[in-house]
Symmetry: C2
Subunit: 211 residues, 2 copies
Amino acid sequence: MERKHEVSKAVIQRLPRYYRNICELKAEGVQRISSRALAERMGLTASQIRQDFNCFGGFGQQGYGYNVEKLKDELGTILGLDAGRTAILLGAGNLGRALLNNFDFSASGFRLLCAFDANPELTGKSFGGYEVRSSDTLDAFLAEHKPDAVVLTIPRGNAPEIACDLVEHGVRGLWNFTGEDLHLEGLGIPVENVHLSDSMMTLCHLIGAQH
Amino acid sequence: MERKHEVSKAVIQRLPRYYRNICELKAEGVQRISSRALAERMGLTASQIRQDFNCFGGFGQQGYGYNVEKLKDELGTILGLDAGRTAILLGAGNLGRALLNNFDFSASGFRLLCAFDANPELTGKSFGGYEVRSSDTLDAFLAEHKPDAVVLTIPRGNAPEIACDLVEHGVRGLWNFTGEDLHLEGLGIPVENVHLSDSMMTLCHLIGAQH
DNA sequence: TAGATTGTTAATCGATTAACAATC
DNA sequence: TAGATTGTTAATCGATTAACAATC
């Protein structure tokens, strides 16, 4: 279970997809699966799957394969889905409200505590069951509840300053939708910069590149 | 401008990010930039940038660097943003409506024609200026307007069948939000499978992996 | 036991980086 | 011209695949 050396970024980025597929298998009632069968299902090679899993210590069994239930638990633990992480959302505009209303935070390992917005008209309202509080109360909230992560759905502009400020107040990770890439790896703070348009542009390119 | 051999997936996935940064530079009034300066800004190496750009033919100038305006145009053309692609959206539920209301399709190279939904209560309504039509009229619409891409925001379940059906009706690319990975590369159809939760799970893992 | 499939080492492949001649 | 910076080839690095001994 202890990982040897550093696990490469390529492997880590495949973990959620593994987890998703294993959850599907479990839902389908499958109890065990070989690297070969999983590879076929996911469009990977069996070798790669075994290499990837072994970054975190072997949890298969020779001659048998992988127990689906156990694998799901192991992957969930590696991803930290059971670590009880907490998050808040900053910026309850269109995008922020869409996430509050629709995104299943708990399925991604986070308990969302509440949202914050500078617009006083939103204060006290709720979306998706999450209360919007005044930005004025943010610092006090951070000090008291120490959320692990912040979902940044504020407009771009002063995003870098706000991000630094959050980190200084103890925030340990950012899910950044501002459109402005943030890089706090130097501070040891992971950031996921989300750019939906990147994937749509890639599609645009690939459509043109069709033979 | 003609590309030699096949351009690797790694390069293609960096294109939107290049484009974004070059647009920012142009907005800042910068007229030329060297691979070195761009590398510093983006956290890459100058070597990689030159290699990447040269996949599509050199558009720099020795001793000078890259002209920002020209680079923006070249990257835009490579991405196909000026190719006049069209798209429709299928499934005007919460997620579909959030995209209709908020996502800037034209900035990603697509003119969104309209949306479709099976729910008759939505027929005729508009979101973000896009009309929702009855799914019953979809096939006729596809035959007449031949959109290049479909934004799939229907619930998962029969997504694979619907995807195949769309492709048979001439659709050339999918932006897939159903949560169920679609792989139509075998048919030569590019698909962008979007999983927002993957990035949130990765963040969850990385927060736990902090030293 | 025999068959199957893992864990792990070695080989291959591809992508990134370094170096430098070409040239603006 | 001299200086700067590209385009491109060669070297390095890392990730993927193949192979196989270990073992359930």
